[in-house]
Each structure stands twice: as C-alpha cells, then as structure tokens.
C-alpha cells in the first residue's frame, strides 16, 4: 500500500464555477500513492477550490473525481463516510473546534468513529501531538491560546488522528516564519515517510515546493499547465510558470535545484 505508484486521486475533466466565472476549466490531475504533490498557482487561480472540490465541499459542474478508487458521485452515504475516514484535511486557518481543548480536538475523530477506551484515546492523542512537535502541556490548552504555528501543528495532529492514507494540506506554511515553515516542511516529510502518507498540498511557498514535494502541479487559466518534479517546472515554457519559478524569488531556487539533466533544452 506504500509508494507503489498507484493512482490514489484521479481528477478527470473537472469544471467548477461560481455564477458566470469558471474557476476550473476541464482540469485533469493524478496523484500517486505515497508521493507529496504540491499544487501552485496565482492567488485566485483556484488551488483551494480544487482541493475543496476533491474533498467534496464544493459542487462540480462536470467531470469525475476518484479518491482511493471511490467515485464520490456514485458512492452512497456509508461509502462516503468510510472514504472521509481515510483522509485527513488541514485547513488554512487550522479550523480547530474552539470550544474543545487541543487534546479533545485530536480525540474528536477517534471518539466519533472508533470505540476506544478513554485511556487508549488519551495515549493516542498525546502520541499524535508529540509526533507533530507539541507537548503534553499544550494538550490542555484551547485553540485561542495557541500561536499560529502551534495551531497548524495541532490541526495536523487532528488530521492524522485516524491514520489516514491521504492528507490534504491547504497552505500549511502560510503565516509561519521561515524557520517554523521549514520545521513544518520537515515534519510533513518525516510523517509522510514513517506513516506512508500520500500528501496533497496547496501552497505558495517556493521553499516547501523545493524541499518536500516529489511532484508539483502548476495551475493557471483553470487547468494544470505543467506537472512533474521541480526540474520540469523550471523547463516549462508556460509564461506564468516561468514568471513564478524564474522570477525574483523563484530564481533564487533555480540555482539550487540539482543540475538540471544537463542537456540543452
């Protein structure tokens, strides 16, 4: 079940729009098992819309989405719920339940989905919190008492509560300082390796794209204009992708990408 190159998320011909505007226009994308897929795109290009459509929060106009071999449209309620249990979602603002403590937040999916003893739930929730770098002292805090980085970590622990096979991350490093963002990237990489996760990550952070993503998909004009490892991105001729990766900030990274298969383009 780990890293064997099977497709776990398959999006075909997806159209999503609001009123007159078409946000995603016949978009297709595959995510393979065990990889970290980064999705980039300008502000308002529809990255978050794509993520929210895949997890079923937004309606689509056309196309099919298959996650772990299940088509959301054809699945009945029980099947959907079973599927939703197999993925975890980290929302941009964390979306921790503000009336519950951090520990209770992490235990929430366990309590609702599994019949576990309180002792095991406490131990597992603390284990998850420690895995994402929080301490037992943080567990009793309420979300309002956490800093931005801690909120993201706690939300990640909740997303991982049921040992999902896929984790969706919506801008996991936005709003974090470069050091915390770097730590968070490392954390995602470690977790992906130990837990054998597939990660679908929407991000703006060039640094994360460079350090953690196995493959990157660039979203522009409502479709995926390029997909592949970073070296593909740098060779891509699409104007937006070029500006993004070769621009002032992106350019700093090009030097660091291991010598691009030294053939002349």
């Amino acid at each position: 079940m780990k890293g064997n190159g099977n497709t776990v998320i398959s999006v075909r011909d997806l159209v999503v729009g609001f009123g007159e505007t078409l946000v995603l226009d016949h978009l297709s994308l595959d995510v393979r098992a065990g990889e970290i897929m980064g999705v980039v795109g300008g502000s308002g290009a529809g990255k978050s819309v794509l993520l929210r459509t895949i997890i079923g929060l937004l309606p689509k106009r056309h196309g099919t989405i298959e996650v772990l071999g299940v088509d959301f449209d054809e699945a009945d309620d029980a099947k959907r719920r079973a599927l939703e249990r197999r993925w975890g979602v980290l929302f941009q603002q964390g979306a921790l339940f503000s009336s519950l403590t951090v520990l209770q937040n992490v235990q929430f999916p366990m309590r609702e989905n599994l019949k576990l003893s309180q002792r095991l739930m406490d131990e597992m929730a603390l284990a998850k919190l420690e895995m994402v770098g929080l301490t037992a002292a943080d567990a009793e805090k309420f979300p309002a008492e956490l800093s931005g980085g801690m909120t993201k970590r706690a939300a990640l622990a909740r997303a991982l509560a049921l040992d999902p096979e896929i984790v969706f991350l919506d801008e996991p490093t936005s709003g974090l300082d470069p050091i915390s963002a770097g730590d968070f990237d490392a954390l995602i990489k470690t977790l992906q390796r130990t837990l054998g996760l597939t990660v679908f990550m929407v991000t703006h952070d060039l640094e994360s794209l460079y350090t953690v993503c196995d493959r990157v998909a660039a979203l522009a004009d409502g479709r995926i204009v390029a997909v592949g490892p970073m070296s593909t991105m740098l060779e891509c001729t699409h104007p937006w992708v070029q500006t993004y990766f070769q621009g002032k900030r992106g350019g700093m990274l090009t030097k660091r990408v291991s010598p691009i298969e030294t053939e002349a383009p």
């Binding site: 503000s98 003893s117 597992m124 603390l126 284990a127 420690e130 002292a137 309002a144 130990t194």
Partner: protein
C-alpha cells in the same frame, strides 16, 4: 474483518511467552487489539522471555504500533525482555517513532469535589455580578466621554453609520413591534373585559388597557423586543469584530472604537426607543379597542370617550420618559458584552446570550426604580 483470535495469539511454554500478531493492526481494530493486549499482560509477569512475531501482520499503523510499544514498555518496566521479530522495515521506523512518545506523564488535571466546585461557582457568580456592574459603569463612562468629545467637534460624529443603524434598529423594527404590541393590547383588553364583566364593570377594562399600556407594558414590551433584536445584534457584531481583530486595528489607526462604533449605536437606541414606544402604545391601544368592539361589544365612540376620561398626559409622559433610559441600558450592556468576546465561537454565543439576559433584567429593574420614583413624586 479479522476475528478475535487472529489479531494476537498466545503460547506459553516453560517461562517463555510467544505471541504472534496477524491481520490488521490498525485504528479500525484498535479497541479489540487493546483488550487482547491487556489480557496477555498478566501472563507476561510469569514469563522471563517474551517474543512477539509480527510476521503475520498485514497492516500496521500508529494505533497498532502504539499498542505494541505499550506492551513492550510494560514488560521492560517489570524487568523482562521483549523481542520483536518479523516486522518489515518501514513498520520498524513507525515503531521507533512511537517509542519516543508518551515518555512524560501527562500533567494531572486538577480535580475538586462537587461541594467545593459548587461553592466556587457561587463565589464566581457573585464576583461576576460585581465585575459586570463595573464593566457597565466603565462603558457608560466611556460613552459619556466620547459623547462630550464628539460634541466639541461635531464633524467627527459618524452620521452615516448612525443613519444606517437607525434604519436597522428603528425603521425595520416597526412591523414586528406593531404586531406584538397590537396583540398584547388585545389580550389585556380581553382579560379585562372577561373579569370585569362579573362585576358589571366592563367599562373599567378601558382604564386598565389605557393606564397599563401607556405607563408600563408598552415601554417594557418594546424594550424587551429591542434588547432581543438589536441588543443581541450589537453584541454579535462587536464580538465578531473583536474576534477578527478589527477593533484592535481601529485602535492602532488612532481611532477610538467607542467613538466610532459604540457611540452611534447607543445614540440611535436613545432615539429609537421613544419612537418605537410611541408606535407600540398606539398599536396596543388600537388592539385593545378592536377587541373591545369585537369581544366586548363596545363601540369605538364609547371606548375613546372612556379612554379620554381614564388617562391623562401624565400617564403618557411616565411611559415615554422611561424609554430613552431603557435604550441607554440596552446599548451599554450590549456593547460592553460585545467587547468581552474572546477568540472562540463559543464565547461569542455566551456573550450574546449574556447581553440579552442582562439587558432585559436591568430594564425590568430600571422600570421598578422608575415606578418607585414616580410614585414618590406623585405622578
């Protein structure tokens, strides 16, 4: 689904405990697995050597890894030795990860007895009342200061905002106020006629309706409606502005939130309350008259001439004088509660509830104080 026996099998031979795991050691089977693991623990005390063969385990996640870790940790604590064999490479990484967690005991939650916590909540309630009064006095003072400041430079008054609020609080409230007071007037008239009829004193029902509505009920009903309708929305608005740091943003830009947000809102209530009270009283009298006609068979001429004898301008004034004060109380409470909202959605709900409950309570207390005052000056 793996059955009971297939997750963990036990064999005990001359001081050697051999366990064999199989099936899915995952979250879905964690409950079952935990009871199995707990069941073998006593055996382990007698065993010198324990070996766990994980070769048959098909799926392994953090739940399974933690339970395995917990088992080995227990034995290690008892001085035994546990050997794990047959675990694939990547699952071994996971187990190593789990062996690092839960090393420190979770801080014990402070527990107190039922009596102590009941006493504590009473104490907290009492100090809370005192703190509330201080908060309201503080808000009242802040509004007063802001009002004086705005008077010295009237151009700074948020006129647009005030007009917008007036539309919401006063104009849009008219239909519901009309309806409620109309019904209340009708009900009072019906009850009056029904009971006075026994003494043949049906005409006095008109006195009852007139005096009660103009002096007390009209203004009270309107105040309660306004507290529930506008007070709650003030608290929720200001509260969500607090949550999204909008009020802090105003402050850092050099604006006084009391002057910008609160003063127009409270001033509008001062205007809206008398207006709505007047409209409400008229609707209630109309309702009373209608019921007197339909239920008591009293012609409108008789009703009006009786009303003229029964009520005087004093009754009307007593009712109307109270209205702006009640508006002030509702505004102060609603805004003060709004600024107490903390980061969570729950606190917004709590504060909005508190705002409505406290302002209705204070409105009724105020009405009582006014009743004493008017009685002693003979109005």
């Amino acid at each position: 689904m793996a059955s009971d026996g297939s997750l963990l099998t036990t064999r005990f031979e001359d001081g050697r405990l051999e366990l064999a795991g199989s099936g899915s050691w995952t979250a879905a089977h964690a409950a079952e697995l935990e009871s199995l693991v707990d069941r073998v623990s006593p055996d382990a005390k007698r065993a010198k050597n324990v070996s766990i063969d994980m070769g048959g385990v098909r799926e392994f996640d953090t739940f399974g890894a933690w339970l395995l870790e917990r088992l080995t940790r227990q034995w290690t604590a008892l001085g035994g030795k546990a050997k794990i064999v047959g675990l694939p490479e990547h699952d071994r990484h996971l187990l190593e990860e789990m062996s690092a967690v839960n090393r420190e005991a979770a801080p014990a939650r402070p527990r107190t007895g039922a009596i102590i916590s009941a006493l504590a909540s009473v104490g907290r309630g009492v100090t809370g009342v005192g703190r509330d009064l201080l908060t309201f006095a503080n808000m009242f003072g802040a509004i007063g200061v802001a009002a004086v400041r705005v008077m010295s430079r009237p151009k700074d008054f948020r006129f647009t905002s005030a007009v917008h609020q007036l539309d919401r609080v006063c104009w849009q409230a008219v239909p519901i106020i009309l309806l409620i007071t109309f019904l209340i007037g009708g009900i009072i008239a019906q009850q009056g006629i029904f009971h006075f009829r026994k003494f043949g004193a049906e005409l006095y029902a008109v006195d009852l309706v007139g005096i009660l509505i103009l002096r007390e009920i009209g203004v009270l009903i309107v105040a309660i409606m306004v507290a529930g309708r506008s007070g709650s929305s003030y608290t929720a608005e200001l509260g969500s502005m607090m949550m999204r740091e909008e009020i802090d943003a105003l402050r850092t830009m050099g604006f006084d939130p009391v002057e910008v947000l609160i003063l127009p809102r409270v001033l509008v209530l001062l205007i809206a309350m008398p207006v709505l009270t007047f409209i409400g009283c008229m609707a209630a009298l109309f309702g009373g008259g209608l019921v007197a006609l339909l239920y008591g068979g009293m012609s409108p001429e008789i009703f009006i001439s009786r009303l003229e004898e029964a009520i005087s301008l004093t009754h009307f004034k007593v009712g109307m004088v109270k209205a702006p004060f009640m508006g002030l109380v509702i505004g102060v409470v609603a805004c003060a509660e709004g600024l107490l909202v903390k980061g969570s959605a729950e606190s917004l709900g709590l504060q909005t509830t508190a705002s409505v409950v406290k302002s209705i309570f204070l409105v009724i207390v105020l009405d009582g104080l006014f009743a004493i005052f008017f009685a002693s000056i003979g109005m």
